[in-house]
């Protein structure tokens, strides 16, 4: 049973979004995703200053089994990214919603989070997927 914090929002491609303030958000991948990938060996995060649109592939997470693109849930500009993951990718496995954050965005328009899923909706999506 994977961990899905109630105070975050989610996507169907297993990213999470934490609203920080004034359109600033923090983004990572979910506990379900890190568990499916297995022990991460490499994480690539987007460069600071990069402009992203919603749905754009912007990061890579790689385990022994698979390498996956991470898609930005929202549009905006990257304000910081988690450089520690370069030397310690296992942080993402250990703490996907905390120390394993990937990058922070300043969203361009008032955050268009209507397309994002609530914790409950994501949980139900996961349940459907595993049938």
């Amino acid at each position: 049973m994977s961990n899905i914090p109630a105070d975050l929002q989610y996507t169907k491609s297993h990213e999470w979004v934490r609203q920080v303030q004034n359109g600033a958000v923090e983004i990572g991948i979910t506990d379900h995703a890190q568990s499916a990938l297995g022990d991460l060996v490499f994480v690539e995060v987007p460069d600071v200053g990069r402009a992203l649109h919603a749905g754009e592939a912007c990061a890579v997470v790689e385990s022994v089994k698979a390498a996956s693109d991470v898609y930005s849930p929202l549009g905006g500009k990257v304000t910081s990214s988690n450089g520690t993951l370069a030397s310690q990718p296992e942080l993402l496995n250990q703490d996907p919603y905390g120390a394993g954050w990937l990058f922070r965005l300043q969203t361009s328009t008032p955050a268009d989070s209507s397309a994002l899923l609530s914790a409950a909706a994501y949980a139900s999506f996961l349940a459907d997927e595993s049938k």
């Binding site: 490499f42 592939a57 790689e62 698979a66």
Partner: protein, 462 residues
């Protein structure tokens, strides 16, 4: 029956366990109207008959004296190379997916990767690709992926690069909208024109391919070419001959800038000269090496050293997640093999020769070609085409079309070289000739005498 060990008794017992009356019943799921009728194939023959047939056919082909290079080079192959490579444990082993049962192959590949890094001066090598031509295609796809500063799908491909490599790169990478633009060569020197690059300065281009020595055998000015490419933010794809690397500055050191940006970015080429016979064109192997920063963009298998649960060193395939990884924004590859048996041969070859032996082979080949060019240029109607220094092949200009001369020489048991008139019509009656360490003075004299004879017997072109 060839290679089927079952006796009638075996078959009967097995059918009983399965619960069917006949072997045919095992195919009962296949619709009757799909079943193949009588096949028009020859009957089986014994090994003795196969031996005879193949020996007769080999005799038809014979063993002419070979002076052709053009991407495949005849070198002496030490006896241990294929004696060991054809051991059943190497020959009939599969890809090392169960690492614990394949440490022999895996360690060998790690040693191979190390040797290729040493030869090319690069930081990391893969476990090989199919051949030099397809390795260039993969290198172009990789350059487009790896060049972060560029979204371009344009690659500069000098005309002095092996033209078949260009065709293969087009066939494989062209499907992904990668375009190749030609860069001309100096008609008298026989190497790429730096001035032909100037019009591209400042444009957004992914990479420049540099072949050293080039298709004509000439040495390119690799430092100037590399500097230009890096100044203009292109990656450099080096296509190199492994034997020549014993004598030449390796691509990892090309360029004159001192800030660590010098050196080619991706190195590839044909590994056949390292212990692999000519064998009518294959199987060969392609090699590829690159900077550590691009290792995740490099196609093909890679072996890494690690430890087991008891801390003992061991080897396994690594970075496998890249292989089927599909990145939407950039080009992709579907390759999932390496040329294991050929890499085995090459690794044993490099171990037997070492750097000194390879230098001796390279130097002897270069000198023999120089002697060949001198000897042939003394024949009336034959002269050197280019002024640039060359490695172990060079171009001659003849006063008449090469094709009939080559045919006449072939009838005398000599393969005189490669007629360039179709590939490079602007050169005229051009012939690419090669002599490696396998050609002794007596062979060169024989060729020169035969050529003189054949040319006396025919007419010069008007």
């Amino acid at each position: 029956m060839a290679f089927i060990p079952h006796t009638p008794d075996d078959v009967a017992r097995m059918l009983e366990v399965i619960g069917v009356r006949s072997v045919e019943a095992l195919f009962d799921e296949i619709p009757g109207d799909l079943r193949a009728g009588t096949l028009s194939l020859p009957p089986p023959i014994s090994e003795m008959e196969v031996a005879r047939l193949l020996t007769e056919r080999a005799a038809i082909d014979g063993r002419p004296l070979n002076f052709i290079g053009a991407g495949a080079y005849e070198h002496h192959i030490p006896a241990p190379v294929w004696a060991i490579a054809t051991r059943g444990e190497f020959y009939s082993a599969y890809t090392p997916y169960q690492a614990e049962a394949s440490q022999g192959t895996l360690q060998l590949i790690y040693e191979y990767q190390s040797m290729m890094c040493a030869l090319t001066g690069m930081e990391v090598s893969n476990a090989s690709l199919y051949d030099g031509a397809s390795a260039l295609a993969e290198a172009c796809l990789m350059a487009v992926r790896a060049n972060r500063g560029s979204n371009s799908r344009r690659i500069l491909l000098p005309r002095a690069v092996n033209p078949t490599y260009g065709q293969v790169a087009q066939a494989i990478a062209g499907n992904q909208d990668i375009s190749f633009e030609p860069v001309d060569f100096d008609r008298s020197a026989g190497r790429t024109l730096l001035s032909a690059l100037q019009p591209y300065s400042g444009q957004d281009i992914a990479a420049l391919v540099v072949q050293q020595p080039n298709f004509f055998g000439s040495f390119e000015e690799v430092d100037a070419l590399t500097d230009w490419a890096h100044e203009n933010k292109l990656l450099v794809i080096a296509v190199v001959n492994p034997t020549s690397l014993a004598l030449l500055k390796p691509p990892g050191q090309w360029g004159t800038s001192l800030d660590g940006r010098h050196g080619a970015d991706i190195v590839c080429g044909e590994g056949q000269p390292l212990g692999v016979p000519l064998a009518a064109g294959g199987p060969y192997f392609g090699f590829m090496a690159t900077r550590m920063q691009y290792v995740r963009q490099m196609p093909g298998r890679i072996v890494g050293r690690t430890v087991d649960t008891e801390g003992r060193p061991g080897f396994s395939l690594t970075l496998q997640a890249r292989e089927q990884h599909i990145r939407r924004s950039k080009a992709t590859s579907n390759i999932c093999t390496n040329q294991g048996l050929l890499v085995t041969a090459a690794t044993i070859y490099m171990s037997l020769l070492g750097a000194r032996g390879l230098e001796a082979v390279a130097h002897a080949s270069m000198q023999r070609t120089a002697d060949l060019i001198s000897a042939l240029s003394r024949v009336a109607g034959v002269k050197r085409a280019f002024s640039a220094a060359h490695f172990h092949e060079a171009v001659l200009l003849l006063d008449r079309p090469p094709a009939p001369l080559l045919a006449a020489l072939a009838r005398r048991g000599i393969l005189g070289g490669l007629d360039l008139s179709e590939r490079y019509p602007e050169l005229g009656h051009a012939l690419l000739v090669c002599a490696t360490e396998t050609k002794l003075a007596v062979d060169i004299d024989a060729y020169a005498a035969a050529l003189a004879d054949v040319m006396n017997g025919s007419r010069a072109a008007a």
